[in-house]
């Protein structure tokens, strides 16, 4: 069929099953927007900033597992999208971002709104394309979706010059993709799997180290099954919260810089780390030479480059987790004896009883940890929780009772403040029947606050719970611990009236200072079904604990005090 490049873009998106595109128009992408106006195959959401469009597509992808799609114009439209691309890249999120580019004849002339999008995005995309001929466009669209979702997922940028979207040509959308240089290994090596199974059977203190790859590959059921079969204790990374389910007694908790005592001790004392889709991030390992010092390491990952990158691995297995885990289950069936690890489980239980994940509640002021637990009690398993970055993010990861993967959406690798609100919009578009809550801080929320307007216009009623400590809290915490309380540029006492701000943008706002008000605000926000800001005054100087100081050994944790630590409370 004959059509122009812009139509081809729309037809390709429809052929890929895209339901929602998040974006913002501009000069170089106008041809495509003209076709979007004429079609009804997908919905377009107009965010109020390109960064938010990309985060929203990202949130959509994280909530569903499908490829998220965002569309931006050239120049500043694209550069605003870069943070979104980098966020998705670091967390391996499947996404296709389409950017307009100046016409081919103007490329390289410093044209109006010209920037080298492919050059800038190379280190923060899985792959990117500059379309140079209309005839390539259908193939490139097909490849972009294929690359985004195949192997280790990631964002792909397609940069399309304006004259190509205007040009007419024959459109045939390819049925399949043939990229001989891109063939990720899916099946794990049989011999290696056999050796790993033997190692598990021989171990005395095995530990499942569960990473975001389990969520990405939708293999949490298989992981749970292996844990159950052998009654093997498990720890989760920030990206894997929900995989084991909060109530699972085998789950020690989250490990790493803000991991709980028994998780970090488990990693320090295990004799066999079974790493599933995790990548030994510095926030997880602490001091590498002390990390899992007594353990052999099984590392299963779809990306060979993750294996042996930071730690030496004894049993490397490259492959898709679901595929490898099925083989593990076959091999362990009937052979694995839960009794073998009873002593080990008891040791960890003693550790957990010694220093459970805890905080000291207060009658005078809302403790942020209490707020998280309360949201969990009120909304539990059915809600989708997104977060921004900082103390509130860590408290949410520590205290929310996540019961399933894809319930917890946050920027782990890049640590992007301003991610939570637009990501919540994406998740809510994907699951309109679920309550979507963005747990945020008074610093982060202002970094994409314009999305109040988007949420109100499109009636995407996400609830933002601002744990307001009038500080850039995580930086303040480091200043307290490591910079002799010199609070350089972290005091956020001067702030907007959040309630009025929400209402000015056609949302609804609540000011909360007591526990009763907190409950009432959440209930009311759900009933009103409007985008909401719940501004919660929380203890100002509360710290995220336990904490492993940067580059310290995991077993050297600063632990929560047993008495109230609301120092300097006014």
């Amino acid at each position: 069929m004959k059509m122009n490049g812009a139509q081809m873009v729309c037809e390709a998106l429809i052929a890929e099953g895209v339901k929602t595109v998040f974006g913002y128009p501009g000069g170089a992408i106008m041809n495509v927007y003209d076709e979007i106006y004429k079609q009804d195959g997908f919905e377009h959401i107009l965010n109020r900033h390109e960064q938010a469009s990309v985060h929203a597509a990202d949130g959509y992808a994280r909530a569903t597992g499908d490829v998220g799609v965002a569309m931006v114009t050239s120049g500043p439209g694209f550069t605003n999208a870069v943070t979104g691309l980098a966020t998705a890249y670091m967390d391996s999120i499947p996404m296709v971002v389409i950017s307009g580019q100046v016409p081919l004849s103007l490329i390289g002339t410093d044209g109006f709104q010209e920037i080298d999008a492919v050059g800038i995005s190379r280190p923060c995309t899985k792959h990117n394309y500059l379309v140079r001929e209309l005839s390539e466009l259908p193939r490139i669209m097909k490849e972009a979706f294929h690359i985004a979702r195949t192997g280790r997922p990631g964002p792909v940028l397609v940069d399309i010059p304006k004259d190509i979207t205007a040009e007419f040509g024959e459109f045939v959308y390819p049925e399949s993709v043939d990229i001989p240089s891109f063939k990720p290994t899916v099946k794990g090596n049989k011999r290696q799997i056999e050796k790993a199974i033997e190692a598990i059977l021989k171990a005395k203190k095995p530990l499942l180290y569960i990473g975001g790859g389990v969520t990405l590959s939708d293999s949490s059921d298989l992981v749970r099954k292996i844990a159950e079969m052998g009654q093997i204790p498990a720890v989760e990374t920030l990206m894997a919260r929900g995989v084991m389910g909060a109530k699972n007694p085998l789950l020690q908790g989250m490990l790493g810089m803000h991991g709980n005592y028994s998780s970090n001790m488990a990693m320090s004392e295990t004799d066999l780390v079974i790493s599933l889709g995790a990548r030994f991030d510095d926030r997880v390992t602490g001091k590498l030479s002390e990390f899992a010092k007594y353990a052999d390491i099984i590392h299963v990952d779809i990306d060979p480059a993750n294996i042996g990158k930071l730690v030496d691995v004894d049993y490397p297995i490259v492959g898709d987790l679901a595929n490898v885990l099925e083989k593990f289950i076959e091999g362990l069936e009937g052979k694995i004896k839960p009794e073998r690890y009873t002593d080990w489980r008891e040791v960890l239980e003693r550790y957990d009883n010694l220093h459970p994940q805890s905080y000291v509640d207060s009658d005078k002021v809302i403790k942020p940890q209490w707020a998280i637990e309360r949201i969990g009690e009120l909304l539990g398993e059915q809600a989708i929780i997104t977060s921004d970055v900082g103390q509130h993010q860590m408290w949410a990861a520590q205290h929310y009772p996540f019961d399933r993967p894809r319930q917890w959406i946050n920027s782990g690798g890049l640590g992007t403040m301003g991610f939570g609100f637009p990501a919540a919009l994406g998740a809510k578009k994907a699951f309109p029947e679920k309550t979507v809550v963005n747990i945020t801080g008074d610093g982060s929320i202002l970094m994409n606050v314009q999305e109040l307007v988007t949420a109100a216009e499109y009636k995407i009623p996400v609830i933002n719970i601002i744990l307001n400590n009038h500080f850039l809290g995580m930086v303040r915490q480091w200043q307290t611990f490591f910079y002799e309380e010199r609070y350089s540029e972290t005091d956020l006492s001067f702030q907007p009236n959040f309630k009025a701000l929400a209402e000015a943008c056609h949302g609804i706002g609540y000011d909360v200072t007591t526990k009763a008000e907190f409950d009432a605000a959440i209930k009311d926000a759900i009933e009103k079904d409007k985008v909401a800001f719940i501004n919660v005054q929380v203890a100002r100087f509360e710290n995220v604990l336990p904490m492993v100081p940067a580059a310290g050994a995991l077993y050297n944790m600063m632990l929560p005090k047993k008495e109230d630590n609301t120092k300097g409370e006014k």
């Binding site: 050059g119 190379r122 690359i147 891109f182 480059a305």
Partner: protein, 156 residues
Amino acid sequence: MENVRRVISVLVENESSVLSRISGLFAGRGYNIETLTVAPVPNSNLSHITIVTKGSARVLEQITKQLHKLVPVYKVIEHDEMVEKEMVLVKFPIEESLADIEALCAAYNGGIVNVGVNICIGMVADEPCRVRHFLEATQRYNPIEIVRGGVVAIER
């Protein structure tokens, strides 16, 4: 860990920006490039890139794996049993003894390739360490300019 020299051949899809993907990968991840040469592979849509790098065993392993991850990369060969050659061009003043220079170049698989009014140009192609020896030896003939070509290698 001790740094080791390694010659790596990379077969890539011959498309625009592929070289920037490779050099950008090295720059972004802090890997070292000693030499880099590129040319199309005859009768194909591939290019052959030869990179000489240095790094610890862990870094060298990462380089290979990260190169593999780039979509246009077909094949990465970490050379072990190889024939390795580098070309170099040296410009000498015409006042120097042409016979001596000719003999020197011949000793390193080369010769004089151009003679002008004021200068002559010698060329050699040999193993990188021998090229280094050649360049040391040229010093006594007051070379005006030296251009090294970077290493190319082929597995034996």
